[in-house]
Symmetry: C2
Subunit: 351 residues, 2 copies
C-alpha cells in the first residue's frame, strides 16, 4: 500500500477560534502541502474539484501545476475531476499540459460528483443523467488521448470533426485515469471496460462496505484479460497523533465541523432530495475500530486499521489520506503528514 | 513603456535543421522563459491560447501557475484568453485561482480569436457571432467577479441562478482584464464601457495603423469619466542582436517559418473564407523602418522604433514582445531576452 495526500479545498474557520484564514493563505498552504507530500515521499498529491459552492478549489490543474514546479517525484492527481460537468476536450488539453509541466506525473480520478446537485443545476445539466454524461465524456476523453483524429456525435458536447487536441500527454498511452466511485457496480464495470484503476470513496463508509465491489472489480478484470494489473484505491479522513486518545479529543471538533458543513451544503443544494441533517451515524464516527470510515488515533492504531482494510479489500494499491480541512491549522496538518510518512507508511508498505 | 514577454506556444521544427524538440521540452522552455522574464525584470509574462490546432498551449493558466510557483514579481497574463470559446464561470474560477496562487499577479487579455475558424467549429459555435459571444461572456465574467450572487439569462451558457463562484480573486476589484483587439472601433468601445485596458494586435500591422484607435480609446475614456488611467498595450514579433544586420539575416528563416505556418493554418481552418497564401506584404517585413510590424535589429534600432511607435500611439503602457517560436532555439531566445532587458528596456522606459 502506498499513501497519498488528498485535500478537497474547503475553507472553513477554525471551530475553536471562529477565525478563518484568507483564501490566498489557504491556497498557499495547499501548495505547501503538495511540496511537503513530495518531500516526505508520499506517492501522490490529490486535489478535489467543486463548482459554485463554498469549496475554493474549482480546478485542481493550476494548483497541481504550481506544485509540479516545486517538486520532483510526487504524482499529481485529483479527487475527483468532475468529468460529467466539464468539456472532455478541455480536460484532455489541461491534464496533458499538466503531464508535460510535471515531466509525466499527472493522473486523474474521474468522478460524477453526483451528490452535488447545485453544480449540475448551474451547469445546466440534469443530475439524473450524470452517469450517461460521465460515461460519454470518459469515452471521448480516452479517444482524444488515443491515436488519430477524433469525430464524435455531439452527445454531451458539440460534435467533433476529425479533431486532434494539443498538447499530447507525456505518459504512454495517456495520463492514468482512475474511476472515482463505488456507489454501485456500474463504476466497477466502467473501470474494467477501459482498463482503469478504481478509486473507492472510503469517506462515505469503512472498507467492509466496499469489499464486494473490490472483489467484483478484480474478477471482471481477470475475465477481461487485461495484461496490466488492476489498481484499487481507497480514501479516508485521517488524523494521527502520538497518543491515540489525544488525537481523538483534539480532532473531533474539526472533523465534525467539516462533516456538518459538507452534508449541510449537499442537502441544501439538493433542495430536499437529500435529508438534512444527513445520516449521522457511521460516517461521523472515528472511534469505532470496525465501522468508522475515518481514521483517527496513534500511528499504530491507524496503521492497524489500514492493514485490516487492505485485507478486507484484497489489497489497497493507493490510499488517499485527507488530513486537512475543517479549519485545522496548517501546523497541525504538517505534523500529521510527518507522522504518517515516518511511522504509518513504513508499517503498511507491505500490505 | 514597460516591456513584457509573450509566447504563443507554437511547436515548429528549427527551419535550419528540420529538427523539432519534444513537446515536454518546449513546455519546459516556456516555464524557463517565464522565470527568465521575472529574473530580468520584465513587467509580465504572457501566453496565448489555442484549441484543436497545432499550437501546444491550450490553456495558459496551468503554465502560468507553474511559473508563478518559481517567480516573485512578474505579472502573469495571456495573449489572448479565448473568452468567446470558454465558459465564463470556469474562466472566473481559473484566473481567480491563478491570482491566489501568484499572490495577486494574474491578468488576462481577453480576445475573440476570430481568425481561428476551426476552434469555433469544433466548439460548435458560429464564428459570425463571435463578437456577441465575446461581449456576453465578458459581461458575465466581470459580474461573477463583482459583489453578490449572479443570475444570467443563458445567452451563451446555461442560465445561472444566484451563483457565487469560488475562489475569489486576490486583486481588487478583480483580476485586471484587457481587451485584446483593434480590428475595429468595437473593441475600443467595449474596453471603455467596462474601464479596461486595450491591447492592440501589433503583430498584424505596425503602429501607425492603430493610431486612430488609440486616440479614440483615450478620448472616449475621458468622456466616460473613469477615475483610473486608460492603458494601451501593443504587440510585436521581435528579434534583437548586437549587430542589426546580423539580427535580420539570422532571424529571417525563423520569422518567415512562423508566419507561413500560422497563416497557412488560419487559411486552411477558414475553409476558403481567408486567402492562402495570406496578404504577404507588410506583416512579413521587418526591415522597413516605418511599415514593418515586426521589430528586428540592434538594441538601438529596436528601441528607436519602439519610441517612434509610442509617439504615434500617444504612449504605450505595456509592450508585448514575442521573441520565441518558429523553431528558434531556446539559447537564442534567452539571449534576446537578456539584450532586451539590458539595453532596450532602459532606453524606452521613459517613452
Amino acid at each position: 500500500m502506498k499513501l497519498s495526500i488528498l485535500s478537497l479545498g474547503d475553507h472553513l474557520p477554525d471551530p475553536l477560534t471562529g477565525a478563518r484564514i484568507p483564501q490566498h493563505q489557504r491556497i498557499g498552504e495547499l501548495m505547501q502541502l503538495g511540496v511537503l507530500a513530495d518531500g516526505l515521499g508520499f506517492r501522490g498529491f490529490h486535489l478535489g474539484e467543486h463548482h459554485v459552492c463554498d469549496y475554493i478549489v474549482s480546478n485542481p490543474v493550476p494548483l497541481l501545476a504550481a506544485v509540479a514546479a516545486r517538486t520532483r517525484a510526487v504524482r499529481l492527481s485529483t479527487g475527483v475531476t468532475l468529468l460529467a460537468n466539464r468539456d472532455p476536450v478541455l480536460v484532455a488539453e489541461d491534464y496533458a499540459l499538466l503531464d508535460l509541466i510535471s515531466g509525466g506525473r499527472a493522473e486523474l480520478v474521474a468522478g460524477r460528483g453526483n451528490a452535488f446537485f447545485e453544480c449540475y443545476r448551474q451547469m445546466g445539466q440534469d443530475i439524473a443523467r450524470s452517469r450517461e454524461l460521465f460515461e460519454a465524456n470518459l469515452d471521448l476523453l480516452l479517444r482524444l488521448w488515443g491515436d488519430g483524429p477524433v469525430s464524435s456525435d455531439g452527445e454531451t458536447r458539440p460534435p467533433l470533426d476529425q479533431a486532434v487536441v494539443q498538447p499530447r500527454p507525456l505518459q504512454s498511452p495517456h495520463v492514468p485515469v482512475w474511476i472515482g466511485g463505488g456507489s454501485s457496480e456500474d463504476s466497477v464495470r466502467l473501470a474494467v471496460r477501459y482498463g482503469l484503476g478504481l478509486q473507492l470513496p472510503g469517506v462515505f463508509a469503512a472498507a467492509p462496505h466496499f469489499a464486494s465491489l473490490a472483489r467484483l472489480y478484480r474478477e471482471l478484470w481477470h475475465e477481461a484479460g487485461w495484461s496490466h494489473a488492476p489498481k484499487v484505491g481507497f480514501t479516508a479522513h485521517v488524523h494521527v497523533r502520538q497518543d491515540g486518545q489525544d488525537a481523538r479529543t483534539f480532532w473531533e471538533p474539526y472533523h465534525l465541523a467539516y462533516l456538518d458543513w459538507v452534508w449541510g451544503m449537499i442537502a441544501d443544494g439538493s433542495r430536499g432530495a437529500l435529508p438534512r441533517p444527513p445520516p449521522a451515524g457511521a460516517e461521523r464516527a472515528f472511534a469505532d475500530p470496525v465501522k468508522a470510515p475515518a481514521l483517527c488515533g496513534s500511528p499504530d492504531e491507524v496503521a492497524g486499521r489500514l492493514a485490516a482494510w487492505s485485507e478486507v479489500l484484497g489489497g489497497i494499491d493507493v490510499m488517499l489520506l485527507k488530513i486537512d480541512g475543517g479549519g485545522l491549522p496548517f501546523g497541525e496538518v504538517r505534523q500529521v503528514a510527518e507522522l504518517l510518512a515516518r511511522e504509518v507508511a513504513p508499517a503498511v508498505a507491505g500490505c
